[in-house]
């Protein structure tokens, strides 16, 4: 191992591998350090990988990457105890190249992706924990690992160490996160024969379906559940903010079992065989929780920089794109031979100018609003269900009368003004 690298990337998830790949492609000497037995061994995702940002890193990746199914249908469920209001979109333009997004299993995908960085020339070291950044004269100059004589040096250290990012906390880039800034999510992979998946979700081979589930799936708490189709398995999961979990005294695995046994969900997973159970945190603090992302000799990317758009379930694509932007900034800094914060701030500028920070800015109040005003999940989802049930049940009541009754039941419970306030507040949070 040479004593000094151009770049050390900590963490071989989507952000880290993207950064390592782009740096290596540009001729830099890259060390990629992963704490797991292999890349992906510590990583969890519900399962949707967007094509656009990945394609910029590996053109036509779908021809070689281990993917599950291209998603051709996205459903949204507003779930009550014994009913559901559904909407969604299914389009065959998503069933052909270049596709829109795919379901993936991360342990396999991350190994493949890190392998692309290795092919491009990066050196990947697994089973190695970076215990701290080595700081000299106010500048990060390398990392200390848990291997014997495990100090390695570089011009730039890129922190892609995930949602917990102990390393950027050590550098003082952010304080410990609050329980309302992270979502605790648990999921199961459930094996089910391909034919059953195709029948139950009304898809063909190599077509996938995703369902996002709101309302009773979290027992009205701030969060969502999901059910995604893989080739021969389903990913089913549920998460809420950690603060909601604490407040409601929820056991996450009991919430998952509640979901699995819900009468609207159970028939879809019936007869399946559980293959894995996984828990992970998702950084959901949004725009205001993004830490300092560049310092002297150091850059922060991906989940470590809290780059997740919870409303649109985007995270791994933002991780990859931030990794690419970071790599481009490092290449520029290398040309200048200047690795100071002001030089590396070109990453910060690129990040804030990109769709990532623009989208996070758009939703900067969303999580806070929905956490503070739980009625959206608690009250309105059941209300929607009752309204639909009433409207579509033929009982001899004239339709105009029905509409009146529905409006009355909505405004009667809360008062017209409060309903209007709620609508305005929600619109403001996501506009």
């Amino acid at each position: 191992m040479p004593e000094k690298f151009d770049v050390i990337v900590v963490g071989a998830g989507p952000a880290g591998s993207s950064c390592a790949l782009t740096c290596a492609k540009n001729g830099l000497n890259v060390l990629l350090i992963e704490r797991g037995e292999y890349p992906g061994a510590k990583n969890v995702m519900g399962g949707v990988l967007y094509r656009k940002q990945m394609e910029e890193l590996v053109p036509e990746f779908w021809k070689e990457a281990p993917l599950e199914r291209p998603v051709i249908e996205q459903r949204f469920w507003m779930l009550d105890k014994e009913s559901v209001v559904q909407f969604g979109y299914k389009g065959l333009e998503w069933a052909v190249e270049p596709y829109n997004n795919f379901t993936v299993l991360r342990a396999q995908f991350d190994q493949w992706f890190a392998g692309k960085a290795v092919e491009a020339g990066a050196l990947l070291i697994n089973e190695t924990v970076v215990t701290e950044c080595i700081v000299e004269n106010g500048k990060v100059v390398g990392v200390r690992t848990d291997r014997p004589d495990g100090e390695v040096y570089a011009d730039v250290v890129v922190l892609a160490d995930g949602v917990n990012s102990l390393l950027s906390k050590q550098l003082g880039f952010h304080k410990e996160f609050r329980p309302d800034e992270v979502a605790l999510t648990v999921m199961e992979v459930i094996n089910l024969p391909k034919e059953k998946i195709n029948d139950r979700f009304n898809v063909e081979d190599n077509q996938g379906c995703t369902i996002e589930i709101f309302g009773d799936s979290t027992k009205g708490n701030l969060g969502t559940a999901f059910l995604y189709t893989n080739k021969d398995s389903l990913n089913i999961g549920v998460g809420t903010t950690l603060s909601s979990m604490i407040k409601a005294k929820l056991k996450p695995y009991e919430l998952l079992d509640y979901l699995k046994n819900h009468p609207m969900v159970k028939p879809l997973i019936d007869g399946g065989e559980s293959a894995e159970y996984l828990a992970h945190l998702i950084p959901e603090g949004g725009y205001r929780s993004v830490p300092k992302v560049a310092g002297n000799g150091v850059i922060v990317i991906g989940d470590a920089a809290q780059l997740v758009n919870a409303i649109h379930r985007e995270g791994s694509n933002m991780a990859m794109y931030s990794g690419k932007l970071a790599a481009e900034a490092v290449v520029q800094a290398k040309n200048r031979e200047d690795f100071s914060e002001s030089s590396l701030n070109s990453y910060r500028e690129a990040l804030y100018g990109s769709f990532i920070m623009k989208d996070l800015e758009k939703y900067k109040d969303a999580a806070h609003t929905f956490e503070k005003y739980p009625q959206y999940f608690n009250d309105y989802v059941p209300m929607m269900n009752k309204a639909m049930s009433k409207f579509f049940t033929v009982d001899g009541t004239p339709k105009r009368e029905k509409q009146k009754q529905i409006m009355k039941s909505v405004t009667g419970e809360k008062g017209t003004l409060r309903v209007l306030q709620d609508i305005y507040r929600a619109w403001k949070a996501v506009k």
Binding site: R35, G36, E37, G40, A41, K42, N43, V44, M45, G47, L105, R106, A107, Q108, N126, E127, T128, V129, T145, D146, R147, V163, N164, L166, E176, F177, R178, P179, V182, L184, V186, M187, E188, V189, I190, S233, N235, L242, M245, I246, K249, L250, K251, P252, Y253, D257, K260, I269, G272, E273, S274, A275, E276, Y277, L278, A279, H280, L281
Partner: protein
């Protein structure tokens, strides 16, 4: 079969256990005297924490390394590190 409880779920997993815990409860008295709810025993997704009357038992071997206990402990009473490189939980699928 689909799992029905946390024991069955944890049984699906592969762990390469370290001999030393990467999770440390700093002061068991804090749990006993200041924390009636002991929320870590509720929200931990792997049921790592179990209250034993006078002290918190930490079953670090089954930890998913999610970080919830470090962030969720109301008294910042949990020292949280990563297990030694290559150790701890090994996800095989998702």
């Amino acid at each position: 079969m689909s799992t029905k409880n946390i024991e069955e779920k944890q049984y699906l997993l592969r762990f390469k256990c370290d001999t030393k815990s990467h999770l440390t409860v700093l002061d068991h008295d804090v749990c006993m005297t200041q924390c009636p709810d002991k929320v870590c025993t509720v929200f931990c997704p792997a049921e790592v924490y179990k209250w034993e009357g006078t002290r918190m038992q930490v079953g670090y071997e089954g930890c998913h390394e999610c970080g919830s206990c470090r962030i969720g402990c109301p008294y910042q009473n949990i020292k949280w590190e990563y297990p030694k490189g290559g150790h701890g939980i090994v996800f095989r699928l998702a």
